[in-house]
């Protein structure tokens, strides 16, 4: 039994070049970084030298879970996948993706907190992990198969319970825009990194346990308390329509259950009902992301909600659309959420029967069918926006030859015929032709290949392109300057939901301001959406808090799409959430007593290490000008409304300069360069990291 609860206690290391399989002690080596991305960044810093290419055998890919994975802590299904990100442009840098599903729990039950994959196999292999029995198996017979078939074949060998994370043809063919998928629809980037290592899949089956250090009665109490504070998906805490129990409602909320709204494709149909927040046995009915994104027609096709281990929210919706079987000969059942759900639909500008129509839902089904089997990434929707721009601006025609151009049925595309996806998506996975190859490279490399300036992309607000080949992910449209700061910090799209979950929780701005003053010291930390005020120090504090909680969640294996619990649906609590819920769960699970502030300290260490790796690999300390950049469209408005006027997301350049100053100050980073100072590194026990950066002249 491990000394600590929570952690499984071991990290698995697999060298594909030599076939050597070994383990390390999690607590001894990685406790200061908790788990998840923390372990990922630590391995990249220590072991992957600067200038390593993503597809070189020297790159490593780390599947990291954390101490709360596999436990009953709500929303704990995440496996963080950290590697050198192949779509990061102009130079691949460290980044991570976060895969939900059941892989994390199974890995923990097998006895591992993380897997470090290194080297490159001579021929395709897949890794099987059955508790202590870890083997590399020949995958030549699996190579070329989609994710669905691969999973099935591996389950045939490992049994029903095994969870399989596999790549599809896109990953095999080293398409940078590729993903790894487990449990049907739970994906994270890095598919091509696995492909470059000739690793087709990891199957894991664990029969062990994750121990809870605290008393089981206390753990039960903590879990029930946490559950009582949950809202719907993205921690929206008010319903989208008036409900008998609710003081407020907000049409933008993802809490869309109501009397008369049914999972109609279930046999028999199941009513979602009013879902009083005090009834913890109805949490799973609150959200239906298919309906949230596709409109009320999607109720007709809803079989049920689905999702990760231990999560009552169920943000992946299972849909049954019989017409796609007859029209396109694909399975009538599909499931996903958000970007994955909209994968196919988002390619089209219009549909014959309207934007939230039967055809648009069919396009979703076709898109999911291909993307989640071939393993293609959508770069948070930028792939589809790029495609539309390239076509409608006439760029595409000039970049590919006539023969190839004619090989696509553009009339189908213009009409909004989902059948068009049959032509496009498999070709992306195969790198078949110039268009498919360029799209699969990711935006930055595609622009470079075609001689298009990145500035052109930065100017177009419709693209929502941010920097380094990736789009915005909850930026100025979600809490103004705070969203902008967050979007400057990563080497891919930001994926931080701490801020947007609060700002979009549906509570009136007065209540949000009251909660904000308790959380970040002043009601001025938040503005009403589309009514922004100039920057202040409390916004900087909220930005920092948002980033730290994202890193903390990625390390603990909690879902940042749900946390932090900064508000709750409970009127009797004044809609307060609980800012220290992570510390309560961490302390009880692991037995390592850490306050909320102490955990934030660890999260800051992790974020700092991410910054250090980025500085080292970019080879410059000039982060403020070279890395933390903001695209022009943030400072523009279609109707030319001035910044801070009502109804605009437009930010002001000078104000954002002040905002970055305040943020760097909060972080203890040098304002001129945006690089962390020696003192800051030392404060977080990263003195050795600072020394190495100093030798290279990368300290401010």
């Amino acid at each position: 039994m491990a000394k600590h609860g929570g952690w499984a206690g071991k990290v698995l290391r697999v060298d594909l070049s030599t076939g050597k399989i070994s383990t390390e002690n999690t607590i001894e080596k990685y406790k200061d970084f908790i788990g998840g991305t923390g372990i990922g960044y630590k391995v990249i810093w220590d072991e992957v030298p600067s200038a390593t290419k993503p597809f070189s055998p020297e790159n490593k890919i780390i599947f990291g879970t954390g101490p709360l994975a596999g436990t009953g802590a709500p929303c704990n299904g995440k496996t963080a996948i950290t590697t050198l990100w192949p779509t990061c442009w102009p130079k691949p840098l460290v980044a991570s993706g976060h895969m939900g599903g059941h892989f994390a729990a199974e890995l923990k039950y097998a006895g591992y907190d993380a897997i470090i994959i290194e080297g490159k196999s001579e021929h395709p292999v897949w890794l099987s992990i059955e508790d202590a029995r870890v083997e590399l198996n020949d995958a030549r017979r699996l190579w070329g198969l989609g994710i669905r078939r691969t999973t099935y074949e591996i389950n045939l060998q490992m049994g029903h319970e095994a969870s399989v994370a596999a790549i599809g043809q896109a990953g095999e063919n080293l398409v940078p825009m590729s993903v790894i998928i487990n449990s049907v629809s739970h994906s994270a980037g890095g598919g091509a990194v696995m492909g470059s290592k000739n690793l087709k899949a990891i199957g894991v089956r664990g029969t062990g346990s994750v121990y809870i250090s605290g008393k089981k009665e206390e753990w039960e109490k903590a879990i029930k308390f946490h559950l009582s504070l949950l809202g719907a998906n993205n921690q929206h805490v008010v319903p989208s329509s008036p409900q008998p129990w609710a003081e407020y409602y907000s049409p933008g909320s993802r809490w869309i259950s109501s009397k008369g709204r049914n999972w109609e494709a279930s046999r028999p149909p199941i009513e979602t009902g009013s879902c009083d927040p005090h009834n913890l046995n109805r949490i799973a009915y609150r959200s239906n992301n298919a309906v949230f994104f596709l409109g009320n027609d999607a109720w007709k096709y809803t079989v049920r909600g689905n999702g990760c281990t231990g999560c009552p929210i169920r943000c992946h919706t299972i849909l049954r659309v019989p017409s796609v079987y007859s029209k396109y000969a694909i399975p009538e059942i599909g499931q996903n959420t958000c970007g994955g759900l909209n994968f196919g639909r988002a390619f089209f500008k219009t549909f014959p029967d309207g934007p939230k129509s039967q055809t648009s839902i069919e396009a979703c089904m076709v898109g999911m069918h291909f993307a989640d089997d071939l393993g293609i990434w959508n770069n948070y929707g930028l792939l589809q926006r790029d495609f539309q721009k390239l076509y409608y601006d006439g760029i595409l025609k000039t970049k590919i030859d006539e023969k190839e151009y004619k090989s696509y049925s553009w009339d189908k595309f213009e009409k909004g015929d989902p059948g068009f996806l049959f032509e496009l998506l498999p070709r992306i996975a195969r790198k078949d032709g110039e268009l498919a190859t360029a799209l699969g490279m990711g935006t930055g490399y595609m622009l470079e290949r075609w001689g298009i300036s990145e500035e052109d992309w930065k100017k177009d607000p419709a693209l929502q392109y941010w920097k380094m080949g990736h789009p915005r992910h909850h930026s100025n449209e979600d809490s103004g300057q705070i969203g902008v700061i967050i979007n400057t910090q990563y080497n891919r799209d930001a994926q931080c939901h701490s801020h947007t979950n609060f700002i979009r929780n549906g509570l009136p701005i007065e209540v949000q301001k009251r909660l904000a003053s308790e959380l970040w010291g002043s009601p001025d930390a938040v503005d009403a959406t589309l009514a922004y005020t100039p920057m202040n120090i409390y916004k900087a504090k909220m930005a920092k808090w948002s980033l730290l909680r994202k890193e903390l969640h990625d390390a603990l294996a909690l879902c940042n799409w749900m946390g932090p619990i900064s508000a709750s649906p409970l009127k009797e609590r004044g809609y307060r959430g609980d800012d220290s819920i992570e510390s309560l769960l961490y302390t009880l699970a692991t037995g390592d007593k850490k306050s909320c502030q102490e955990l934030d300290h660890v999260a800051e260490r992790i974020l700092l290490l991410h910054r250090a790796i980025t500085i080292r690999d970019m080879g410059t300390k000039e982060m403020r000008t070279m890395h933390d950049t903001i695209p022009d469209w943030v400072f523009e408005d279609i109707k030319d409304k001035s910044p801070f006027s009502k109804g605009t997301n437009r930010m002001d350049k000078e104000d954002m300069r002040i905002a970055m100053d305040m943020y760097y100050e909060e972080m203890g980073w040098d304002k001129k360069t945006g690089a962390p100072t020696l003192e800051t590194y030392r404060k977080f026990d990263l003195g050795d990291v600072a020394e190495k950066l100093k030798q290279k002249g990368l300290l401010p």
Binding site: G72, Y211, E220, R282, R320
Partner: protein, 228 residues
Amino acid sequence: MIMNLNFSRRQFLKVSGLAIAGISALSSLGVTYGMAEVIIITEQAEGLVIGDPTKCVGCRRCELACTEFNDGKASSTISRIKINRNLQLGYLGLYTGKCDEGKWGIGLIIQDICKQCPHPVPCADACPNDAIVIKPPINARVVDSDKCTGCKMCQRSCPWDMISFDSDTNKATKCFLCDGKPKCVEACPAEALKYVRWRDLSRSVPTRISPTSVISQEKIQACMGCHK
């Protein structure tokens, strides 16, 4: 042992967990086969957990509540309610080649739950140490860990594969209904599990018509032979 389902429980000796009498029910019927007296358990648990597969959302919070709140550790292997094994490919999918249930099929997840067999009780019958005993007041069969030697015979005898084995303690474990408040039921976020108490419904089935036929006196006399 093949038993007639219509065999009345009154024909057996009631055996409680506290007083397992060494008198065979069969011997009370005058059938002993000349063997040592055996224990026949015929006690009904107070109720059982039932699942509605159409509502199951596959989050496994029931498995986690079962093991964390009872055993202080999270594990689907020792969970006494089984979701994980039907989660991905359904109940039979993998081996029959018909992946028609689970996440990869139509989405339906069948919750495997202990059936609280009243009689026969394959796990208890198979135990060479009589370690699976009735625990009042709920009268669910529980594994007496003092008696369990970890031989796994019970695991091999349950036709529904509902006995779990805890390799830390080297003991078998089975659903004991959490003494009447099942944690799994409490934990389900989709109301897909219910704890249902057994009750005698034979008298509550409504009659369809009011009988008006007249029965002859002779026939009534014949009836009275038994129904006094």
